[in-house]
Symmetry: C3
Subunit: 165 residues, 3 copies
């Protein structure tokens, strides 16, 4: 827990101290409840109970995580409003996800239909990573980028910059 708080202070310059992070970071609260909902859904097969918890979290914090998603250590969802993480998503350790990002499906696949993220992946605001694709370690995905194919470890994927008229 302390290593998680320390890692947030390294990742967010607006983080002032542990109390503030615990009280006011929606992404920290959403992950806390996801851990409980995931345990209920996957280990105890209390699916409706896990879904209920994440429904309430989405209502309060605007962050939607399917309780069956597999999420590694120290995931930091910053701001987080509008984030959607689908049922068959797998996320490694030390990833950072910003507001409005989607780890979702294309609607064409069944079974494993959401992305797999390695460790230390950064997903920018409004980025859409869709389908059963693999995003390697240390990849950075820029704001509003649409990603539909595998990305090799260490690469950066940028959204297209606006054009000045």
């Amino acid at each position: 827990m302390l290593s998680f708080l320390r890692s947030i202070k390294e990742r967010d310059p607006a983080a002032r101290h542990n109390l503030q992070i615990i009280l006011f970071y929606p992404g920290v609260k959403a992950i806390f409840w996801y851990r409980i909902a995931h345990f209920l859904y996957v280990k105890l097969k209390l699916k409706l109970m896990g879904e209920f918890i994440m429904f309430i979290v989405r209502m309060i914090h605007g962050i939607e995580i399917h309780p069956a998603a597999k999420i590694g250590k120290r995931l930091f969802i910053d701001h987080g409003s509008g984030v959607v993480i689908g049922e068959t998503t797998i996320i490694g350790n030390d990833c950072t996800i910003y507001q409005g990002a989607t780890l979702g499906g294309t609607g064409k696949e069944r079974c494993k239909r959401h992305p797999t993220l390695g460790n230390n992946v950064m997903v920018g605001a409004g980025a859409r990573i869709l389908g059963n694709i693999t995003i390697g370690d240390n990849v950075k995905v820029g704001a509003n980028a649409v990603v539909l194919d595998n990305v090799e470890a260490g690469k950066t994927v940028v959204g297209i910059k606006g054009r000045t008229l």
Copy 2:
């Protein structure tokens, strides 16, 4: 109602059974309340009442639908957080809209200033369909795509994919 629930199960692989859909799908709740608000606003001219209901729905579920919008049968708003549907929007039957999508205006038009969607249109996450334009039947609009012109029936409009550096 049953045909609506069945159509959701066809469209969303994460949908397990009717009870789960009725309890935990924000888009289903938003549409339910929109039907009531639309009746109050348009038929009974209780405009403030209709607006109040949709204000509460937006607060709880993060989905904003103007009570005067005209929406056909079996619209499925999946995930739905951040969706905005403007006052003069017209939506056909069997459409699907994902989180973060906007059916909005460009700020340059008055009166009919929002889009008209045909039947069976799919609007991807974060897509922005703006202005008094017509989107034909069976059109698919990809994630984060910006659409400012009419689209013929059956076409697919894709957002620009991120570029790997």
Copy 3:
């Protein structure tokens, strides 16, 4: 206050009268509470109190404004769900910001790491303006545009339109 309400009626064709704007416009409520939170945070150094107010506003209205941001007169946040305004952002007078827009950081800068907007700037739905850059007076930023560099006064920056297949 009256000039603010009048300016909203000019900017939003769906605005019918003052009562409706005061009751049901989440962006108007968010700005009202931001003024109080900003005073507590900056003048009285009650930082946790200011952060608490804006945490509640984000929970209720889905609009996230850091209490330390500097915001000019008559800012209108329309719809507003998913909007994020970072700690060191500076916004001039008469700006309009739509749902899903981010005035944020790139993660590479410390201290002043968010944008500075001039007067009468329009930021479209889902636009991401990132980093310590300056957006001149009267600039219009289109929906879903990604802006990482300074923009001269009077210019328009458009996001890339979707491609029809």
